[in-house]
């Protein structure tokens, strides 16, 4: 079974803080993704990475950055958290073959106060 682990399930941060969300996968998948999920808006892609040290912007990259130093780990960074970044963040992974299934982690609930 694919395992995608998001180390922080629930976080409360203050406006202006730097926030790190970590994701680790154990399936040697090439592709990794960060989504946010908000009521009524569905899943929106923030960033994705198709290889180590490679990253591409998704649909809503503003206010976020990512880091992929190792194949199994993909980090999402909020440089200066704002209240409109309060959301559920989902990490996902997929093999390098396009069209294959995306597997999700359990999600990280971030509240910015």
């Amino acid at each position: 079974d694919v395992k995608v682990t998001q180390s922080s399930r629930y976080l409360v941060k203050r406006t202006g803080e730097k926030v790190f969300l970590e994701c680790v996968q154990d399936m040697d998948h090439e592709n990794m993704f960060w989504y946010r999920q908000d009521p009524g808006l569905g899943l929106r892609l923030i960033y994705f990475s198709y290889d180590v040290k490679m990253k591409e912007k998704g649909d809503i990259p503003e206010g976020y950055s990512v880091s992929r130093e190792k194949k199994e780990r993909f980090s999402l960074i909020l440089e200066s958290a704002s209240t409109n970044q309060t959301s559920m963040y989902l990490c996902a992974t997929r093999t390098g073959h396009s069209g294959n299934t995306i597997y999700f982690g359990e999600g990280s609930w971030l509240t910015v106060v």
Binding site: V4, Y10, N31, Q37, D38, P39, G40, G42, L43, L45, F48, Y50, E56, G58, M88, L90, S98, G99, N100, T101, I102, Y103, F104, G105, E106, G107, W109
Partner: protein
């Protein structure tokens, strides 16, 4: 945590009945489709997938039907159980990096 999908379409079924959840997809070039189940407070979980060269695929208690003519996908759940209560959403891919996800349908199972 806050519930996902507060304004989603809702389907309410009696325990033991069959459920049919529908999805209209947008991209005619999509050739791979997936159904996910998402329980409250958890990440989406893969249920079943289908490629565009197929019309139907069956899993354990679930069947996915694909109608490419009208760009429609459906998920059928046989003998629905209380544990099936969740948000279900479809996803489509055209082979590129981006997968398009539907908004989802909330399934309530009445005991």
């Amino acid at each position: 945590g806050e519930s996902v999908g507060l304004h989603l379409p809702t389907l309410s079924v009696q325990e033991g009945d069959n459920s049919i959840i529908n999805c209209a997809y947008s991209n005619s070039a999509s050739d791979y489709f997936i159904w996910y189940k998402q329980e409250s407070g958890k990440g989406p979980q893969f249920i079943i997938d289908i490629r565009s060269n197929m019309d139907k695929r069956q899993g354990q208690r679930v069947t996915v039907l694909l109608n490419k003519t009208v760009k429609h996908l459906s998920l059928q759940i046989a003998a629905t159980q209380p544990g099936d209560s969740a948000v279900y959403f479809c996803a489509e891919s055209d082979g590129g990096f981006k997968t398009i996800f539907g908004a989802g349908t909330r399934l309530f199972v009445k005991a």
